[in-house]
Amino acid sequence: MTAAIEAMIEVRNLHKRFGHVEVLKGIDLDVAPGKVVCVIGPSGSGKSTLLRCINRLERPDAGYVLVGGHFVGYRLVRDRLHEVREHELCASRASIGMVFQRFNLFQNMTVLDNVTLAPKLARGIGAAEAERKALALLDRVGLAGKKDRYPNRLSGGEQQRVAIARALAMEPSVMLFDEATSALDPELVGEVLDVMRALARDGMTMVVVTHEIGFAREVADEVVFMDAGVVAERGPPSQVLQAPREARTREFLARLL
């Protein structure tokens, strides 16, 4: 690597279509180290697809993503991007944490095994070391006491906190949150947002797709409003959320309130 890193995440001209529906129509996004970007917008606007293209759960049709100064899924040979083999892609993904709307905890494993599996398999960390770190992380999200439970015995909020601990166990350089609180009962949203807030305070670089406007206002360094596959408006929360320039943004925010 020769150039210094200015952006922890750099997304350029990202395009993605499913069949003949163009979901992303050329997205650019920069997230500086330690910053939090909240992505808001109506459903179907391409927010989740953008997130899933960053860790290449979806393969973009055009454009590229850099995380921590490294191409995700590509290698630069002279001036052309070349797709990389699976193990290189896995190494990139290992440094990008992702939290899903539906938690997606491994149902066949205890909480502790959920958190230790990937460090052991993908990072080759010893079982004792992985367990020690996992317990520290579970303690951080307030769930050390439930390490031997299976996921289906936990509340939604608890499952999502375990999912966050599981992602953090890989010591990622960025975290992606895909509507992490949308599937939760209202009274459980707070505990997950608290964990996310603490994570942002600790200097984690985060991209948060969310409908929690209050959270965005409080935590985001930048708010990105997406509509119909493009970034319609972006800026500090005070501007985008309180004094939106675009009519589309105003309409969306009005419907939320």
């Binding site: 759960l57 290992a94 992702m98 899903f100 539906r102 997606n104 491994f106 398999l121 299976y150 890989m170």
Partner: protein, 307 residues
């Protein structure tokens, strides 16, 4: 308005249950029927229970039982391995892999197992020599006479195993598809490879859907293996047949064979329950781990968990 409660009902005694006379009549009728059937079984001299007793543990029959067990287990082992491979091929994005597996499943599910067995038995007519080597370009490493390596037992194992693989492929595929796609995404997103995700996350969860029908497959394979009798494999049914063609004690020997099939099926059924119980653990985390004996005491009915 008047109340039904003319006096305070006694709460120290349980409510008097509803009398169900119909149930008693039905039970009496069935009891009579069963007694009648038992009487027929034991009073009809043609069943020749003495002969049954004489052959039940005879060496020929026991050898047949052993071969039946061997055939069942080998064919199922081949079937499970082929089934997993074919299922993964069917789920592949690669058209050729998908097409090959689809054709295999169609061919082997679409023809009777009996036809396949006879076909394998007569393989030598189609390929007199079987050669191991690099296809098209050579060299050949070893060459065998088909008649010497495809013995009847090998033919039976191959035939039943290949046939079973086609059924298992669909069972395994259904199992894999039953796992929430989010499980795969979570594994991939953590940086696990597709193979690690399949092995550690998806297949273990698919097992809960795969095991019950596989148990049924083993049980039907046990009985399907009797088809091997037509290609002169002396499994249980053949062993019994060899005796009754000699002694003309057909009925008692068929009863001997049936008693063994029923016993083996019973053993397999119990084994299946134990395995299903273990797989269910992440669902019923705190359910007591009931052993075979407590299950038997509970009359084979599932013991109620704390749910």
């Amino acid at each position: 308005m008047t109340s039904d409660k003319e006096v305070e009902p006694r709460l120290d005694l349980p409510p008097v249950p509803l009398a169900r006379p119909g149930r008693w009549v039905a039970a009496a009728f069935v009891a009579l029927l069963v007694a009648w059937i038992v009487a027929i079984l034991f009073n009809n001299p043609n069943f020749q229970w003495k002969v049954v007793g004489k052959y039940l543990f005879s060496k020929e029959i026991i050898d047949g039982v052993k071969l039946t067990i061997e055939l069942t287990l080998t064919a199922m082992a081949i079937g499970v391995v082929l089934g997993v491979i074919a299922a993964l091929m069917r789920l592949s994005q690669n058209r050729l892999l998908y097409g090959t597996a689809t054709f295999y499943i169609m061919a082997f599910r679409g023809t009777p197992a009996l036809v396949q067995l006879i076909f394998w038995y007569n393989l030598a007519a189609l390929f007199p020599k079987i050669t191991l080597g690099i296809p098209f370009f050579g060299p050949d490493f070893v060459s065998f006479n088909a008649n010497t390596i495809i013995t009847p037992v090998i033919a039976a194992n191959l035939g039943l195993g290949l046939c079973e693989g086609a059924y298992m492929a669909e069972i395994v595929r259904a199992g894999i598809l039953s796992v929430d796609p989010g499980q795969r995404e979570a594994g991939i997103a953590l940086g696990l490879t597709r193979a690690q995700t399949m092995r550690r996350i998806i297949l273990p969860q698919a097992l809960r859907v795969i095991v019950p029908p596989t148990g049924n497959q083993i049980i039907s394979m046990l009985k399907l293996s009797s088809l091997a009798s037509v290609i002169s494999v002396t499994e249980l049914l053949s062993a019994a047949g060899l005796i009754y063609t000699r002694t003309f004690e057909t009925i008692p020997l068929l009863i001997v064979a049936s008693l063994w099939y029923i016993t083996l099926t019973g053993v397999l059924t119990l084994g299946q329950r134990v395995i299903e119980r273990r797989l269910g653990r992440s669902v019923a985390e705190t359910a007591p781990d009931a052993g075979i004996w407590s299950r038997l005491r509970a009359g084979g009915r599932p013991i109620a968990g704390p749910d």
